[in-house]
Symmetry: C2
Subunit: 557 residues, 2 copies
């Protein structure tokens, strides 16, 4: 006989920050009933995923077990937690999706793009309410983060309870949404908690985190003293911050204008779902144009330097009729996520060229993180007092440090990266197996695998350039006319000071002239030989070995 | 009559950090005799310059005036100051190159790759010695930075003196090379200085800079307490730091091994030129293998995450027979230059997977900058007391802030980005004109222009994928056989669940079947029409519009 067990399997989010997707299962081995916590995306970059639109976890493992999947739970509405819900809903077998009202509003918006009806998402009430999903009873326990209605999940299974922290910080004055509630957590911990699966993002930040409320006075000071137009950017989903910025604008006698789709979408969702009841009146961009600049405050998207967002647009010139100039002030009420530095710096320099004063968070006045720092993580461990701690939501270095922290506090900790299936049933977590995981790319409208070779081919063309070569052979396998080359992404002339295209065509002609009948007859052989000529000649001429497409057309007799 | 004037023209380095190239000229307008200060490179990235090997200033303006170029002066041996000297020597008309001994050693190494003889570079003695170059008398005034023998240039012209700071910091205990010398600068300033052309890199750093000597004790503490193998990376050119690291190793009873070509090259140049006389004995990697790990210290290249440097190699596995493991320590005695974060973080995570403890400079214990912070820049302004300050070596934001600082201290300041020719003859700098500037790419073995479209084509292929389509038409312009497509970097199947290649070929066949004689006869028209079919079908199938190469072959009668 095989006893029932509780398993944990991250498919995304463990060993990276992004595309969160965590599976929990309970039952006899390989018969566990499953739930999925979060289904997020991560963003492509030119370095590793050029041309890709979105990246999400490879859910093949789940797809092979859809009959065991009970439901999906979404902790909060950040893209790395909810972003794939529309793209993967069908692939997941159209499961029941559970989320709190604000998160559900955002999820429904994403699903609507695929024509999925609203009732696919059930709105969950907060803890102590729970949702039954197979052997699990799941409660959405409000926890402070940087977006409304973030929740940790209290996951009860027949033998006990685990707590999945979601993204969190310990904020007693988060301004929007529920404060961190020590008493609630004490009562949740009371029956005993088997495992805390816990956010690791800021485990290297040694000081206690600061409250969202702490940035208000600084922002207000800045906004009221700015001489010209005031423009601020922050994460659109940080609705509390957006309101703080808007209120600072109003207090300084400025009309407030929101710019950027995400900004409007988030405020709208907050108002619709009732998490925000007192957002100041705003003006539309078309009306803002006629307001004196010293009486205007823009709150805009694009804090991470995204090229098409409002911040970047404004840095390049006029956007929706508005243009910044000397004497205006631009505030980054945000931090730059590693990897986005270049885009952000480019915006700062463009504003500098316009004479706009840019204020960033170098001194920590205008932004606070949404994640628990090390002392707050410790506090959470102690509050929940679980038997074991499973670090999640972090790169390997964060998970490792967090596991060490857990051990140092006297609890079992383990590093489990994507694909590591843990058995949490015993007194310590044990590895139950490893599962093939990876990344799926949304590319245009198609899902492709990160390892399909498609993106690798693109990267190669970007690094090496591309040559198309065409040869026509007649019925006797003799070249008909001259070979023809098209070069793309390669220098036009090289060592011999003649056009590369001509040198290539000449060398190919010569090769064909002396090629033996056997080579000319054999498609594969000919292809290889022609390719080699192109690569060698190009290397000799300009010092690069290009990608080559060989087209040999044979006229049939 | 036209009076003689002094001009300043940055071709690179002003409005960016990298590829420094500053022209000074003296004489009647458009007849000025010229000198070039520094000729550096900057590094490509996948985002904007995939496949490119090196980036340097476009020197077209100088190339059109080679008969007026007197000489080139190199302030120090960092790549962004000396890196292009070999690549552009011939294009610059093989001018006389002047540099101090260590810099000359490095420059000669680069020029040797082009077969240029050693005597192309003259070794200059330090100030008060000077080099005559047309109307200029140029002195290499030792100044502290983060590489041996860095120099500011004291540039005397018939009507006065300007000081080009080069890269500098105010370090009284730089460990290697000359300390910052207040007395020397006071005496240089004494006759009156027209203009200070000044490093702007750290103008936003508000605290006084720290000395190279300050990191030694912290490094020693870390190295002596590390349990397993100790590995440290830093900028290879920071020879003082390399020695500090090596000495810490020796004091902790460890054998020291240098890894990475640049590391060896820099230490070798330092010893050869006498700037370093007391470097500890080192062991070779092949001997290091047999030394117990707790008695070993590696000093390695790759502090910026470069994929092929020693740090990255070690993070991936065995390198030159050595492999790190649990209990070893890896130190970044460096800061991460913006844009390099992802590569560095990847290394840290790879080491984390091996159980290696990574220590970085988050707390400022193990690295100091080589550039003057704001208070030190102020001190330099006051020490030189020039009539005007021209900020250089900075992005636009740095130049603007530095010019403001100069004005606030009561001196004329001006933002002059690449291509801005300043006339420094009057009491304030004035803009004498704008010159077309830009970037040249070393691509393989060929120089191409940044705006030639070559790299743009590569980026497009990386973002959009590529389709080659071949059609053969007979003597009557009728298609011979079916059109044929090759797809590269695109999903293989899309909406219709058939192979994209087949759908494309089918749609192209249909198009050709109904195309009128006029279209089939006209190469340009046919090309456009076929391209449109490919792009539209691909868009319908997979949601992307690819780059297309159309090959129409016509069999002649």
């Amino acid at each position: 006989m095989t006893a029932e067990r509780l398993i944990y399997l991250p498919l995304g989010g463990a060993g990276e920050i992004g595309m969160n997707a965590y599976v929990y299962g309970y039952g006899a081995p390989d018969k566990e009933r499953l739930i999925l916590v979060d289904i997020g995306v991560t963003f492509p970059d030119m370095e590793s995923s050029p041309g890709v639109d979105l990246i999400m976890a490879d859910i093949s493992w789940l797809k092979a077990r859809l009959n065991r999947l009970e439901a999906v739970f979404i902790t909060h509405a950040h893209e790395d937690h909810v972003g794939a819900v529309g793209h993967l809903y069908e692939a997941l077998g159209m499961p029941k999706i559970h989320a709190r009202a604000f998160t559900a509003n955002i999820a429904r918006g994403k699903m609507a793009e695929y024509g999925i009806k609203e009732d696919a998402v059930s709105v969950a009430s907060p803890w102590p309410a729970t949702v039954q999903a197979g052997p699990f009873k799941v409660g959405f326990a409000p926890i402070s983060h940087s977006i409304p209605e973030s929740s940790a999940l209290v996951i009860d299974y027949p033998d006990g309870r685990v707590v999945h922290s979601g993204d969190f910080k310990r904020d007693l004055t988060p301004l929007v949404g529920e404060p961190f509630d020590d008493d609630m957590w004490t009562s949740i911990a009371k029956p005993g908690v088997k495992a805390l699966i816990c956010d690791s993002t800021n485990v290297f930040s040694r000081n206690e985190g600061r409250s969202e409320a702490s940035v208000g006075p600084e922002i207000e000071k800045l906004v009221s003293s700015a001489p010209g137009m005031m423009v601020a950017t922050t994460f659109a989903s940080n609705v509390a911050r957006v309101r703080t910025l808007a209120e600072a604008g109003v207090r300084a006698g400025r009309s407030v204008c929101l710019m950027g789709r995400a900004m409007k979408r988030m405020v709208e969702a907050s108002v619709t779902t009732g998490v925000l009841t007192d957002f100041p009146a705003v003006v539309q961009p078309e009306d803002a144009v006629s307001i004196p600049r010293e009486n205007l405050m823009l709150i805009v998207t694009g804090s991470q330097g995204e090229r098409r967002a409002a911040s970047a647009q404004l840095s390049r010139g006029k956007f929706l009729g508005l243009e910044l100039k000397e004497g205006d002030t631009f505030l980054f009420s945000s931090k730059t996520i590693p990897g986005n530095e270049k885009g952000v710096i480019q915006i700062i320099n463009s504003f500098s060229e316009k004479g706009v004063d840019v204020v960033d968070d170098a001194d920590g006045h205008y932004h606070v993180s949404g994640h628990a720092n090390r002392p707050d993580i410790e506090m959470m461990h102690n509050l929940i007092d679980p038997q074991m701690v499973i670090p999640m939501h972090g790169e390997h270095r964060h998970l490792r440090e967090h596991a060490k922290l857990a051990e140092s506090l006297g609890r079992a900790g383990i590093v489990a990266v994507n694909g590591t299936m843990l058995d949490l049933s015993g007194n310590r977590p044990t590895v139950a197996g490893y599962v093939e995981t990876g990344r799926s790319y949304l590319d245009g409208r198609v899902m492709i695998g990160a390892l399909d070779g498609i993106v690798r081919d693109r990267i190669r063309m970007a690094l090496n350039g591309h040559v198309t070569l065409t040869v026509i052979l007649d019925e006797e396998d003799a070249p008909l006319g001259d070979p023809w080359c098209d070069i793309r992404g390669l220098a036009e002339t090289g060592r011999s000071n003649a056009a590369l295209q001509e040198v290539l065509e000449e060398d190919l002609s010569q090769f064909l002239g002396r090629a033996d009948a056997k080579t000319l007859r054999d498609d594969a052989k000919l292809d290889t030989a022609l390719r080699r000529v192109v690569r060698q000649t190009t290397k000799d001429e300009i010092g690069k070995k290009p990608e080559v497409t060989v087209v040999v057309s044979r006229l049939s007799a």
